[in-house]
Point group: C2
Chain length 543, copies 2
């Protein structure tokens, strides 16, 4: 196969007309030629830190959208499904990814379960880590989130880190707000990336210490426009919704945005091609001899519109036509909770005669990941604390889905629902069933609906209900991305009509149980204070 | 150990006052502090491609000079001693290097023998390569010089390359003037560096193809001032004399020169610290947590004068005092040639009655590595071709030292000796005995002197003789560097008095047998035409 066009050279920051010869998927030759060409050919884009599960698409379905955006490789961290199904889940992701032409590389989830304070579906121990890291398609140890364990030199996490070193594979970090000597203890172990910076100062501290800074520009966190694009090494998505993947783009969106904000386009392109390829030792990321022939034809270095995509020497996308169709396999049910009754959702006072209670409330403000701890005074009726829809203090519950049938109930502020409940089996990181509602009846209906349907998202109000079924580990659908997007849009509209003004209510809901991010979160085992690293009582005081 | 000073951060291009805490040789913490400090602390300098043997010093002796120049690590390619003694020689280098605080890393010589057209002392096969590359201190496969074999996919060299890939270790290149599709075939195998560029165009072609460009700035080749310093990735010496190491400096000299020529000092420093450390996966190269505490205190970013050197947390050099003394071990004799007689050096015509002969002449011009092929008309006396001292057409002979007692005689232009002979057991790459002289008698005396003394350099004329004994494989001395430098200076002065105006006559002599570099070279097996890749007759025509 011979391709002609203006190629972008990531080593020399040049664009010149060239003839690229491809043989068996590998670039055999790149020769500068005379000639005028319309097409601008750049190396295929790499998203080197992404949780595919967040798109609610299986890997082969994800490819249906990502390929059109010029993404030719991803380094996927199957952390979510691993929490639900362990090795079985990771293997599902691998097998499904093999059905698509997108180059899937994986990191081995390092922190499953991510916390001992919530019940998860599986444990990935160091023996499993060793098995996976010995395989070529696993290119790194996945983000080490439990930085407290690292700082305390917990033997299990240190063993996992040592295994990655044994295989000479990078160790990804995840250390929001970690600083000073605690950050240094974390880095000293060999952890070399971070995608959690939230201030320019944090970027600078980590960069000075030699970390590779991953700028996160996904659906859940949009960091390019806030700061730091001048100090980044790699751009990643971390999490992206199917909707954004279709409508906004993937790495091409990141490039468009970064360049629009003033970043040198050659530097920006390196951040999604050469830099991640070198870091993860992928034999790609440049249009040069010996590298995999992953090529993307774009309009220009401003709009980054993708016209044609070649992966491993095969044309995959051309003239708005994707030459590939996914056909994901099913997988066993993973939702094992018993049907609930309204009383299961009660928050009870010790003294049934209390009139009021001061309760700790999860306060969601703006960043979907971070919550604040606040308090509220609520009425008590026959020993049961009553939410205040007027003050937007709603009920939140986390129901274990792994057969133990534990449940934990509390309060949350920020959803604005006036009537109804929303529930999800996507709830980071253990993915139990999380539900927010204005009363126990709606919450019961929502949770029982998900149990019956083997996972998904649901909203129930006096107007009826809206749903999205996620039979793959309660996290993903095997249906077409276009169906998912349609159902999601309907769900969001439905929820808006319930009075909720959040842009992504299910995203906020899914992070309400994420015990590794400050400040107050809801586990199936109780209300968890991240800063104190312990459970606290929902009721502070009865009056 | 706590160190305070202005540190240079290679990740952020900053200099700021900081406190560096060191524990067990590793940087434990780097904290910005308030304060004014005189000292500027930079990461220890790394020479990532060097043949220690060229200094004629053993590794532990080399360290005596290099440490004072701020060199804290080298990646040594023991290619020379491997050609003489194989595994035994490489192990000598390792053992001797362990006697010094300098961090020695090694590459495994990939091309021993480097040619089948000269007799060498050993063979490094792929089995040996595998043994060495499995060890941590071997960080790469050494420069693959026999590019013809690579292009022709010779199974033995391909096996060696595959072993390096198996261990995920880089493969160094050496491909002077290689270009176009032949270069592409070479790079496609995974060879990733080149230190042999001789024009800006060559740099650009190799850089475009993704090679890391090593700028060579050593005693034998000085490339920083000619070109390319803007496109280089790494600065290396390749070969350096003890004299230059003492008087000019090592990587500090390279930095001084590069910055003086306009290179950004931060970029220049990265080229001898972070860049080589990352390429060879050395856990050093930056003043940052978790890295080896290799620190160099310099005056400023202009003169790069070294005041203090810390390696692995230990002060090695301070206030012009080196806190280390070498004590190299001896090694067995490696010179096994029989004593010669003058007739051994004859170049004979077929017809004893010929009056003249047109001979092929090795023409040395300016670059000590590259020779040109030229011809000359010489007188014949009783069937023996007579050199023309008047026209500077001298005799050159290559005498095997590995017991076979082969000898090959020819002619060379460029030495300018009026009277006498110079001989050496340093003659790349097989290190037989090479001699240039004005007549057979002097040549016989010079060669027999080296055989008797078990290796070294010698010059003999009607004024007497000068010598430098090299008992370690005929390549290195176990004596103090200062003795070597003194002897070398005397030798060079002596040779100048013989009429030779070459700046480094022994360097030119040592490359006269280097069959991998164009154009005409002298092997012990005959006169070799590098471009044609075959032996040619010395006598083109008899008249």
């Amino acid at each position: 196969m011979i391709i002609k066009g203006n190629i972008l050279n990531v080593f020399t920051d040049e664009i010149y007309p060239a003839e690229v010869k491809i043989n068996k998927g590998i670039i055999e030759s790149v020769k500068e030629v005379n000639g005028e060409f319309d097409s601008l050919i750049v190396p295929g884009f790499i998203d080197s830190h992404i949780h595919i599960e967040s798109s609610m698409l299986t890997p082969s379905r994800f490819a249906e959208l990502a390929l059109k955006q010029g993404t030719t490789s991803v380094v996927a961290d199957p952390h979510e499904i691993a929490n639900v199904m362990g090795v079985e889940g990771i293997e599902y992701m691998i097998n499904d990814s093999h059905k698509s032409p997108l180059n899937y590389f994986f990191t081995v989830p390092s922190c499953v379960p991510s916390t001992k304070f919530e019940t998860s579906g599986a444990t990935i121990d160091s023996k499993i880590i060793d098995d996976f890291l010995s395989q070529d398609e696993f290119v790194a140890l996945g983000e080490v989130m439990n930085y407290e364990d690292v700082i305390n030199k917990n033997p299990e996490i240190m063993a996992k880190i040592d295994i990655a070193k044994k295989y000479n594979k990078p160790i990804d970090g995840h250390a929001p707000l970690l600083s000073g000597s605690r950050l240094e203890q974390y880095i000293k172990t060999g952890i070399s990336t971070d995608h959690e910076c939230s201030t320019p100062q944090e970027v600078m501290e980590k960069k000075r210490a030699g970390m590779k800074i991953m700028i996160r520009e996904g659906s859940f966190s949009s960091d390019i426009d806030h700061f730091m694009y001048n100090n980044g090494d790699i751009i990643v998505n971390d999490d992206i919704s199917a909707y954004d993947l279709l409508n906004r783009g993937h790495m091409n969106h990141c490039l468009r945005k970064a360049v629009d904000l003033g970043l040198d386009p050659f530097k920006a392109i390196r951040m999604v091609t050469l830099n991640p390829a070198q870091h993860y030792n992928l034999n790609r990321g440049s249009i040069s001899v010996g590298k995999a022939a992953d090529l993307v034809f774009i309009d220009n270095l401003t709009n980054f519109n993708v016209n044609k995509v070649i992966i491993n020497g095969n044309v995959i996308y051309k003239k708005e036509k994707l030459l590939y169709k996914a056909n994901p396999s099913p997988i066993r049910n993973t939702i094992f909770a018993n049907q609930k009754v309204p009383e299961d959702f009660n928050v009870c006072t010790k003294d049934p005669k209390s009139k009021c209670a001061i309760v700790n409330v999860i306060n969601y403000k703006k960043d979907p990941l971070i919550t604040q701890k606040t308090t509220a005074k609520l009425n008590v009726n026959n020993g049961v604390v009553i939410p205040s829809v007027y003050n937007d203090i709603l009920k939140i519950s986390n129901i274990e889905r792994y057969n133990g049938n534990t449940i934990s109930n509390g309060f949350i502020k920020g959803f604005g629902i006036k009537n109804g409940a929303i529930a999800s089996t996507v709830s980071h990181d253990s993915h139990n069933i999380i539900v927010v509602g204005t009363n126990n009846d709606y919450m019961t209906q929502a949770v029982n609906f998900l149990i019956k349907n083997k996972g998904g998202l649901v909203a129930i109000s006096n107007q009826g209900h809206a749903e999205l079924t996620l039979p793959i580990a309660g996290l993903m659908s095997d249906k077409s991305p276009y169906n998912i997007i349609k159902s999601s849009e309907y769900l969001n509209k439905f929820i808006k009509n319930m009075g909720c003004n959040l842009e992504s209510p299910f995203m906020v809901l899914s992070f309400a149980a994420l015990l590794v991010i400050p400040e107050l979160k809801m586990s199936n085992q109780g209300l968890f204070d991240v800063n104190q690293n312990k459970f606290i009582d929902v009721i502070e005081k009865e009056i």
